[in-house]
Amino acid sequence: MVTEQPVDVLVIGAGPAGIAAACEAAASGCAVSVVDDNPDWGGQIWRAQRREGTEPQAALWLDRIGRTGVQLLRGTQVVGSKGPGELTAEREGEICSLRYGKLILATGARELFLPFPGWTLPGVMGAGGLQAMVKGGLPIVGRRVVVAGSGPLLLAVAAYLRKRGAEITLLAEQAPTGRIMRFALSLPMSKARQAVALKRSLLGIRQKNGCWPVTAEGSDQIESLTLTNGRRRWSEPCDYLACGFGLVPNWELAALLGCDVRGGRVRVDDVQATTVADVYCAGEPTGIGGVDLALLEGQIAGLAAAGRIDKARRLFPQREKARKFVAALDRAFSLRDELRELAACETIVCRCEDVTHGALRPFTSWRDAKLQTRCGMGPCQGRICGPVANMLYGWSCESVRPPVLPVALSSLAETYKSRDKL
């Protein structure tokens, strides 16, 4: 087992919140390390930005973290906690021990997938999922893509994919036009400019609001998607479906460390401190809020962890403003009830264990459903199906067991030398 140098501040997650936290902690004189299971800085939203350099905000922060000299422990997956002040992580099959004074969790978010018939076909991916695949080398030139679901992420994904040569046959947003217009009209100047730029980048792409997927068709992979606007149905032939209905916090590591999690969000105080001593949380896990809020929360957490509460407080007004924006965004893109009705009896809800909607519906709790059907007991540890079960059945799906993500068995045995002689 490798024991890394102990640091003052350990940051889990190299997305915007983690980068901002690390920058502030380092600037305040702390020894800082950042851990991420991806190969480079950026998390999901700024994935491959060091290579592509298309986001000015990302470029700014990536430059800043670069100049701090903070080390990124890349390709490193947290396994669990050895006790206060020490995490274990796995990298290239080896276990390392990460000791810290303060811990900042910036574990980001994942997409919310809502099941509908055919959603398990190869070629059906998340919106961010398809974008990540393309950034990871998936050729998309000339491929027909339908982008569907909800939220501003769809626009960014459509624009990106089109730039990379995809043929976006349709961009389908479930929120009705009226709500989106009202939201757009309420935007402050800075945001309005961004929105206009985004709109411009989408010129020529067929867009419809107030419509959503009903079934994906195909034998071994998706061949077409049927959508509805509530009145009529139609089908779009496609090679890929990039489909996401918003984001869900990655709260699991925080919960494993004993932090209080409510309604799928990590509870923090005004300096981003969790209910566990010396553990902070910033960005999406405290509540989905997008890049701007993540950067602010990250800065506040980094400053607080470095003991610079005074400086942290000065960011409170900006954070408050960002929160208001997020609230308005949530209202604009809130998910309509019809989306809860898309799954048929035979539609798979738990993909890891192939448990159908019909099999789950009769249960009254997540725990009972898990024990009886094995739903949520597969390798994704309920990350995909838990939020679905919460939306469709109202269950609270908040139990977590180590390891925080599946790891090699040997990683669970790293330091102990068995005293039992064979």
Partner: protein
Amino acid sequence: MPPSITLAINGRPISVPPDCTIASALMRSGVPTFRHSVTGQPRGPLCGMGICFECRVTINGVAQQRSCQTLCGEGMEVETDGH
């Protein structure tokens, strides 16, 4: 010309650019089905970020590896579950 990486997918060689994930290499080689689910349904990547575990394949003899989280390396041998 950036250096390319050669790896084997189900025994067949394929060359990919650097920073290419195994998952993308699989799709480049025309394999939409990465594995089969518990009840035998064809599956491929969903989340693209290492959370859904639908992209699992065998890499260099080690099974159940997430291909979307693994960068292609020279000489790697990748196997899908081949039904």
